[in-house]
Symmetry: C2
Subunit: 142 residues, 2 copies
């Protein structure tokens, strides 16, 4: 199966930080979480354990490289990594930089918000996104 | 660093489905999520990207094997996999079987609950846990 009509990740139209034959990396435009990235598998596959072994290792390695880029540029207190896909069952990984002052810390970003983050802090983090895009591209380009 | 005083995962006292030299697998006693498992790294390490390459591959493989055991026994609609660690920054992975009738579906389990799951359905899933423990042990024992 390569594409499924109506799946927003099969029909991905967002600008990507890096796109290869098997997966893409996007920097999610999340107002509260500058630096939130996704690794999106190209084919419409449901679970990690549906992938062939080489592809699974490739995804794991991609998530690792994005985590490194996020740590290097965004300097988070913690990185959160998750593959959920309940709403869009097309394999993708969230890589989320977390900070003590972010909207939900220490709860997961999907919990009820704990605070409204300071706008100047968010703006400073948002200013790092071009550097993050470069760091991601550098890690995946040969 | 091998252990940190006060870290509940360094001082893990739960019964484990499998324990090896580098990581353990536990079946979490979660009332709403029978079959919820965790893969817990033994050493007090913060991020996946703090691990040496071989150890990182070992964790990824362990999470994969637990996902397979969960799919085989629990027959979920979807598997959720996440490494967060904001509260307990000691590397661990959640592997969570999800169903359309569970407490939060399609939201993440950390969101606000959407419903109270049917007790007889939970009981039927809970009855599978000994089989899940066996399936996990079988996958890790040589």
């Amino acid at each position: 199966m390569t594409a499924q009509a109506g799946c927003e990740l099969c029909e991905l139209a967002l600008p990507v930080a890096w796109a290869g034959p098997k997966f893409s990396v996007i920097i999610v435009d999340d107002a509260n979480y500058p630096g939130f990235c996704r690794v999106i598998w190209r084919e419409h596959v449901r679970e990690m354990s549906d992938l062939a072994r080489d592809d699974r290792l490739l995804v794991n390695e991609a998530v690792y490289e994005v985590e490194l880029a996020v740590r290097e540029v965004m300097q988070p207190l913690k990185v959160n990594v998750a593959s959920l896909g309940n709403v869009v069952p097309h394999l993708h990984w969230h890589v989320i930089p977390r900070y003590a002052d972010d909207a939900h810390f220490p709860a997961p970003v999907w919990a009820q918000a704990a605070r409204q983050p300071d706008e100047s802090i968010l703006a400073a983090r948002r200013a790092l996104l071009p550097e993050l895009a470069s760091a991601i591209a550098r890690r995946f380009n040969p």
